[in-house]
């Protein structure tokens, strides 16, 4: 298994270079270093000299990909792409255009993102699976029918509506929780409850319906009939056998997103004032801060690759027939 993981990690290197190159190309198709300088320096009294000085200060005064004036390897190393990308493979992200250390920011913001994303993931998974199993238990009855109707209704409503409704009723009208904000430690609990509750409810419709489909497919298989023939109760059949065998598709969806939980949720973080990584990325895009955008895309890609490897590993864990070679 170790050799398999190592091989997968080595495969990741060209993928990450490709992602980096793509991000670089997309970013600089839309923005030039001059545009970035103008945005940072503001719209008043900006002289061409000031732009040149800003570019020199931030390392954007070199050619993008190929330096025709340089010789040898420097043709490729003395460029914006190389100078701003090579260090990332050592997870050295440098500084944003506002002068703040990106690694420090990621480290600081990861906690708040996880504080929301992790409970939403765990509670959401439990609630969705439980609700799906209940619908399967009562399949072909009015409870199943109304469960599916409820799921479709929940799916059809915009995520923003849940946030606004949650804030309006729970925080504003009933004064039960703070409408937004964040705090560390035990004080943070009161700020986390509302976004977690809203996110779990918002994800219930699609999640439960997806798991119901998986479980319904499993429940028609022979081993389920055998289990019932052995005299096992329906609850045991569902929770011991169907759930376990339905784990592979569940893991495909769940484990792969596990590392991405670090990246945070944009809308939730923005509306609830959570100082996480989701809002960091969007702020950077709006501010044309290439250093931050590039770092976050790199990190996202890396975590996605890690997620895929973890998914493969988890397959072998839940299904002994799967072997990683």
């Amino acid at each position: 298994m170790f050799a398999y993981i190592l091989r997968r990690l080595l495969y990741a290197i060209p993928i990450l270079i490709g992602v980096n190159l793509l991000t670089f190309a997309l970013f600089f198709v839309v923005n030039t270093p001059d545009d970035m300088a103008r945005l940072q320096l503001g719209v008043k009294h900006v002289t061409p000299e000031a732009i040149e000085r800003w570019k020199a200060e931030h390392g954007y005064d070199k050619p993008l990909l190929v330096n025709a004036e340089a010789e040898g390897a420097a043709q490729f190393t003395d460029t914006i792409f190389f100078k701003h990308s090579a260090a990332m493979f050592a997870f050295e992200f440098g500084k944003g255009d506002d002068g703040r250390d990106i690694a420090n920011e990621i480290q600081t913001r990861m906690g708040p993102s996880l504080a929301i994303a992790l409970p939403v993931f765990v509670i959401g998974l439990m609630v969705n699976i439980t609700f799906a199993l209940l619908m399967v238990f009562f399949r072909a009855t009015y409870l199943d029918l109304w469960g599916v109707v409820l799921c479709v209704v929940l799916m059809s409503i915009s995520g923003l509506f849940y946030i606004i409704a949650g804030q309006y009723f729970i925080a504003k009208l009933w004064n039960l929780l703070p409408i937004s904000g964040f705090a560390g430690g035990i004080d943070g609990l009161r700020f986390i409850l509302l976004p977690v509750l809203v996110s779990v409810v918002a994800g219930l419709g699609s999640g439960a319906r997806w798991y119901r489909t998986i479980f319904l497919e499993e429940i028609g298989k022979d081993y389920v009939r055998t289990a019932r023939a052995k005299g096992l109760s329906e609850v045991r059949v569902l929770f011991r056998h169907v759930l376990k065998n339905g784990m592979i598709p569940i893991l495909t969806g769940a484990v792969v997103v596990l590392p991405l939980l670090f990246m945070g949720s944009l809308i939730t973080e923005s509306f609830f004032g959570i100082p996480g990584l989701g809002s960091y990325t969007i702020d950077a895009i709006q501010a044309q801060d290439f250093a931050v955008v590039r770092a976050m895309v790199f990190l996202g890609s890396f975590l996605y690759i890690v997620g895929l490897i973890l998914t493969d590993i988890s397959y072998s864990w839940v299904d002994p027939r799967v072997r990683l070679q």
């Binding site: 940072q40 000031a50 002068g99 004064n175 409408i179």
Partner: protein, 713 residues
């Protein structure tokens, strides 16, 4: 049972922290002398050499002290000393260095010298950069990366110190404007005015290239235009006559920076922890930045070493009647701390304000109708629900202008020919900005009559100040000219009924804009509708920020929308936007319309060097007549700010020019505490209802399950 325990524990946690479950400030009692505010966008720079945004000035204005400030109450805006002993009067010298009289012609003046004497005894905020040990050596000026590794904020340093403010700190900061590593936004402008600043910038750039790893010690680089006279006096030498320079001395760009702070922050490992002067300012102001987490909240605390300014006692009769002189002579600042929380969205901001968790608020379009209604006379008034809460409405006209510019290089709308002039005048009448203000701004604007906004010298209110090419006086009121006048002007311009008299083709104009989204669409549709009145077609060319800027630089736009906030309260700061040599296409300047009228340019050069008075007003009137006739801009509106504050926030006069006004703010924390308690009782019945609903949902399922299990058995 377990669930009940968890629920009770959770509720206990919520309830135990404070009386109100929804209190977003856990651990902070509401009866303390602290103002609660918010910021929507995190500041990018807090270094006074770099910071230039309004949202940054909210912090730097309280922390840093330039030599001058704006009087809190007086209008028109008046400069008064802050750390200086007096507002300096420039001394003039000719090219040979001989002194000239105060009223010497500007052409003779080769150099203006501003001598500023600061008051002794002013001290910096507590900061580890000043901390010394028993032997007098700086404790934290020779740290290694390992020692810094466990420091996350300034408070992590055990010791702090202070020192007296001296003239050299001001000179040091002026040199910092030329530092190549700081990219000061005003370096280009100041290099044109301060003697030797441009040369210093070049020298520093060469020095930085020569030793890329080393730090530049600005004390090693003299600046001809800034000299220390004695411990408390310094001089600034300005090229020629530049009367507006005095206003720059009221901005943080000219605030003092102690060299100790730069040495402290330059140590290894500091920048990696965001411990830089750009994020951890060091000033002499009434407040210092005690907590700086721009991702969540920033806290200003009272500077224990503040030099003891008092509330002004000279205000107008209106100020006295409004209770604005009640605190006259009292020591500033009134507040112990100000907590700014990051609030990006308007809905939570507004809700928290109504719950009493923010002491003041702006009014977004979404909540405008809930907060404000207009009386029969058109005056804004609070709605009953706001009045019941004791909320007060504060309105003020901002020293800003929005306009629609014509590219004067454009073959269709540009040029100074009579036909193009009439075309622009016709379009100026057609764009009914009175209607725009009513529809899109909820009345938060004043139709503009020229480039000078209210509150600045040169602005004339009412009928006497109307733009006669767009408005007319009717029954003592200023009203827009009828659309028939616009149609007539359009015909005279060669486009009868919106078609070219020469070719018969319809007149099509192009409007370049960065605006996008549903809100922008309705505004753009409104603009098209305005020109429909003249049978002229308007094509909107939406673009992003970068492309828009590029079009403006290259002169590829035809019509565009732009705005300007005053840097300082002088008409020069608006007229220079129309000064020919500042054309954007030719020089990269701020004249985005590329307007170039020799007569206007000549008057501008005269007006900018004049002192305020009847003679200057006469020149301004002549300039206004020219730009109104030429109409290079459609003067759209001067924005008005509407703000709300709770009853526990004492009366304060809005002063859009001054950024250091937090020191004048006073609150009644006890009233706030009682109001918060009254407004934020938790409503518990929904929890019971939810429990009942869950039982109602689960019970049939449980019954069905039992039935199912029995059947299986």
């Amino acid at each position: 049972m377990t669930r009940t325990v968890i629920l009770l524990l959770g509720l206990g946690l919520l309830g135990g922290c404070s009386d109100s479950w929804n209190n977003p400030y856990p651990g902070s009692p509401s009866d303390v002398n602290v103002l609660y505010s918010a910021f929507g966008e995190r500041p990018k720079h807090l270094d006074p050499a770099r910071s230039y945004s309004e949202n940054e000035a909210e912090f730097t204005g309280q922390i840093y002290e330039p030599p001058l400030q704006y009087h809190f109450l007086k209008r028109p805006y008046t400069l008064v000393p802050l750390t200086a002993e007096a507002v300096p009067k420039p001394r003039y010298f000719d090219a040979a260095g001989r002194p000239l009289a105060d009223d010497a012609p500007a052409a003779q003046i080769a150099r203006s010298v501003y001598e500023i004497r600061i008051r002794p005894g002013i001290r910096y905020q507590p900061h580890p950069a000043f901390a010394r040990d028993a032997t007098g050596r700086y404790r934290y000026h020779a740290l290694d990366a390992e020692t810094v590794a466990d420091k996350r904020q300034i408070a992590d340093f055990e010791h702090s110190g202070t020192r007296e403010l001296i003239a050299a700190d001001y000179v040091y900061q002026i040199k910092r404007l030329a530092h190549p590593g700081l990219s000061s936004p005003i370096f280009g402008l100041m290099a044109e005015h301060i003697v030797g600043l441009k040369a210093l910038g070049e020298t520093l750039q060469q020095a930085a290239r020569a030793r890329p790893a080393g730090k530049l010690d600005l004390n090693d680089f003299p600046l001809e235009g800034a000299e220390v006279v004695d411990r408390y006096t310094y001089r600034i030498h300005v090229k020629g006559k530049y009367p507006q320079f005095i206003y720059w001395l009221a901005m943080p760009f000219f605030a003092p920076v102690p060299w100790e702070a730069e040495v402290f922050y330059a140590q290894p490992g500091m920048a990696d922890r965001n411990l830089t002067l750009d994020w951890q300012p060091v000033g002499t102001g009434p407040y210092y930045l005690a907590e700086n987490d721009p991702n969540r909240r920033m806290v200003l605390r009272k500077n224990p070493y503040f030099h003891g300014e008092t509330y002004p006692s000279d205000g107008s009769d209106e100020d006295r009647a409004a209770g604005l002189l009640a605190d006259a002579g009292k020591r500033l600042p009134f507040l112990d701390a100000v907590v700014f929380s990051l609030e990006k969205e308007t809905i939570p901001y507004w809700s928290k304000f109504l719950q009493g968790y923010y002491d003041s608020s702006g009014i977004s379009s979404d909540s405008f109708d809930q907060a404000v209604q207009f009386s029969g006379g058109g005056d804004p008034q609070l709605t009953d629900s706001m009045r019941d809460k004791g909320i007060q409405l504060v309105t003020t006209a901002l020293p800003s202008l929005w306009y629609v510019g014509f590219n004067m290089l454009d073959p269709v709308v540009g040029g100074l020919g009579e036909d193009r002039r009439k075309l622009r005048q016709a379009l100026s009448i057609a764009f009914d900005y009175d209607e725009f203000i009513s529809i899109f701004l909820n009345g938060r604007g004043i139709p503009a009559q020229g480039p000078i906004p209210p509150g600045l010298f040169g602005y004339v209110e009412g009928v006497a100040g109307l733009n006669p090419y767009v408005y007319e006086a009717r029954d003592g009121r200023v009203v827009r000219q009828p659309i028939e006048t616009a149609r007539r002007l359009l015909a005279e311009a060669g486009y009868p009924n919106g078609r070219s008299a020469r070719t018969g083709k319809p007149l099509v104009l192009y409007f370049d804009t960065m605006a996008s989204g549903p809100d922008a669409k309705s505004r753009l549709d409104w603009m098209k509708k305005q020109l429909d009145k003249l049978n002229v077609q308007l094509v909107v060319r939406g673009t992003d920020y970068n492309r828009f800027q590029d079009k403006m630089r290259k002169g590829n736009a035809q019509l565009f929308e732009w705005g300007w906030n005053a840097d300082y309260p002088d008409p020069e700061n608006f007229f220079f936007l129309l000064y020919g040599p500042h054309k954007k296409v030719a020089s990269g300047g701020e004249n985005a319309a590329n307007y170039d009228n020799p007569e206007f340019n000549r008057l501008f050069e005269r007006m900018k060097d004049m002192d305020n008075g009847p003679a200057r007003q006469q020149v301004i009137d002549a300039m206004l007549e020219i730009v109104r006739r030429d109409a290079p801009w459609i003067f759209a509106y001067y924005p008005k700010s509407f703000g709300l504050r709770h009853g526990w926030v004492m009366a304060a006069k809005p002063n859009p020019m001054a950024k250091n006004t937090l020191k004048y703010r006073r609150i009644d924390p006890r009233l706030r505490e009682s109001r918060r308690a009254e407004w934020n009782h938790p409503v518990l019945w929904p929890i019971g209802l939810l429990a009942l609903a869950l039982v109602a949902l689960i019970a049939p399922a449980a019954i069905a399950w039992r039935r199912h299990e029995r059947k299986t058995a």
